[in-house]
Amino acid sequence: MVKEDKEILNIEDLHVRFETEDGIVYAVNGINLKLGYKRTLGLVGETGAGKTTTALAMLRLVPDPPGVVECRKLEINGRDVRDISADELEQVRGKEISMIFQDPMTALNPVFTVGEQIAESIEIHEKCSKEDAMKKAGDMLELVGIPRQRANEYPHQFSGGMKQRVVIAIALACNPKLLIADEPTTALDVTIQAQVLELMTELKEKYDTSMIMITHDLGIVAEVCDDVAVMYSGRIVEQGSLEEVFGKTMHPYTEGLFNSLPNIKNRQAKLKPIHGLMPDPTEIPVGCPFAPRCNYATEACKKAIPELKCAGGTHLVACSAYERDPEFRIDRSKKNG
């Protein structure tokens, strides 16, 4: 094992807001994240929780305007990328950190062949000739299970699952140290989902890549992640190792996520969805953003936003119930449904 004294990713106090005509959207509100080498972090939460925005901020890809990104630290592989020049940033993107996007249907440029699109990344980062890059692009295609002859075809000639393989090939073409996968399987058929996931974990192992897996599918998290961070309304509400978060769930929202899953062993059991909606990101309430939907919430919860506090080991939770009553435990089978 590599010594984990240094992180591949270290973000402190990340804020992202979008200043639109209709008001300011507070998408990410003070996130701290650290990720060790070769670790996989699952970033979990509902649509609109700010997962994708967080990921885009890591690549400095938040569209500006209207996006405004502020943070205290944004280190990738030990180097702060907040203020580096455009040239340097181009060297970081694709080489140090790269990203697989959610929708493979729109992620590929329709007027270039898939081979060209993979080779472009290689040409930029490995300073090699076009021929060599195309050859390596062929290798990458084979690696993701597509015959290399298809390098000269255009995206519209590929199915959704195949396109996602191409997107993966682009992201991995230069062997990045950190791979962000933004719901890489959501747009795909269930059968294809498993194949793509397997391919990704395989390649990650092979190249010693660290990974952030953005998903709302807890099954995927259980399968591929070492660590988990649960996001709600632009904040991390619970974070820890897979065992900690899944085994000793502490935050009522995480509990709600689990309860929203169908139980295959007890098919008579009713689903217990979380009621209500996430707060409007243009006007985030004063107190705990989850309080309006939380079955444990008290008046105190609506007064102040709870901070993320250590709850033993690497386990962090942002819930004031534990401050008021150290003996407080949630009961997954009973409540919050």
């Binding site: 885009l56 690549l59 890809l61 455009a86 040239d87 181009e90 060297q91 970081v92 993107r93 694709g94 080489k95 790269s98 990203m99 996007f101 929708d103 729109t106 992620a107 590929l108 440029n109 329709p110 007027v111 270039f112 699109q117 472009e120 990344s121 930029i124 980062h125 255009y154 519209h156 000639q157 997107v167 682009i170 992201a171 073409a173 230069c174």
Partner: protein, 309 residues
């Protein structure tokens, strides 16, 4: 691809026949019997009949139409009532001037408008965008012949830089070409901008940025190639308007092109010349549109794939 082109060429035939018919029919509604005009007031009825035969004016509209098409296929557009010259010859004599004017105007328009539209789109809502859009709006709202007159006042009468008319020398084309090109440039600037804005928010540009492609390259390579498709379409559609605009510019600048040929012929009620010039011009437009469609297919692989299937 070849099969597609051949198919398109075959599809051209009914369109061209239709064009010829419409123009032929309109010109035949024209009041007055041209025979009187040619023969003069003293001609006898027999002379008129003979002349009618000679001018191909006997028979019904449909009969004359098919005779006209038959002649057209042999390259014969009839004879001018006025100059008694072969209309095809007259047309071919003037065509190079019009093509020179139109092509220079189009090239100038593209050189100005595409970069302007890109700059406007990339800097959306900035002062650069505003200036580009105001210019484009003015260009669209200005009647081009009036612009031509203004150019004459300023650049030939006041400053004396360019001649106010005629087609001698290289400089004489400058003012007419600007006159013809401004409208197209305005339209292309707007099209380029909106097309670029559409493309600039596409996910695949984010993919390109995420792999380390420089911003410049993202815009000029990844985005522009996609944005070109609507731009080419407009360019093709506008070719017909450029030829139309050159009719006015040719009048303003006494430019000896097809436009003046038509206008003069209408003044003189020279029906064969008007009909012939209109038919030929429309054919030219149609052929250019076909060429544009073919270029299109090379830019967009999806369209190409459709065709080759």
């Amino acid at each position: 691809m070849h099969r597609y082109i051949i198919k398109r060429l075959i599809m051209l035939i009914p369109v061209l026949l239709g064009v010829a018919f419409i123009i032929f029919a309109i010109m035949n509604v024209a009041e007055g019997d041209p025979v009187y005009q040619v023969a003069g007031p003293d001609a006898t009825e027999e002379q008129l009949d003979a002349l009618r035969e000679e001018m191909g004016l006997n028979g019904s509209l449909i009969q004359r139409y098919f005779r006209y098409i038959g002649n057209l296929l042999r390259g014969d557009l009839g004879t001018s009532y006025i100059s008694r010259m072969d209309v095809m010859q007259l047309y071919l004599l003037r065509l190079p001037n019009t093509l020179r004017l139109a092509s220079i105007a189009m090239v100038v328009a593209v050189i100005i408008s595409v970069p302007l539209g890109i700059v406007a789109a990339v800097n959306q809502n900035s002062w650069k965008d505003t200036i580009a859009m105001v210019l484009a709006l003015l260009g669209l709202s200005m009647p081009n012949f009036w612009l031509g007159l203004l150019l004459i006042i300023l650049f030939s009468l006041k400053l004396g830089w360019f001649p106010s008319g005629g087609a001698e020398g290289v400089v004489s084309v400058v003012l007419p070409a600007v006159t013809v090109g401004v409208g197209l440039a305005a339209l292309l600037t707007r099209t380029t901008r909106s097309s670029m804005l559409d493309v600039l928010r596409q996910d695949y540009l984010r993919t390109a940025r995420a792999k380390g492609v420089s911003e410049n390259n993202v815009v000029m390579h990844h985005a522009l190639r996609n944005a070109l498709i609507p731009i080419i379409t407009i360019f093709g559609v506008q070719f017909s308007n450029v030829l139309g605009g050159s009719v006015l510019a040719e009048t303003v600048f006494a430019w000896p092109g097809v436009g003046r040929l038509v206008v003069d012929a209408i003044d003189q009620r020279d029906i064969p010349t008007v009909t012939g010039a209109l038919v030929m011009t429309t054919m030219l437009v149609t052929v250019v549109n076909l060429l544009v469609d073919i270029v299109y297919a090379y830019v967009d692989p999806r369209i190409k794939a459709q065709y080759t299937k």
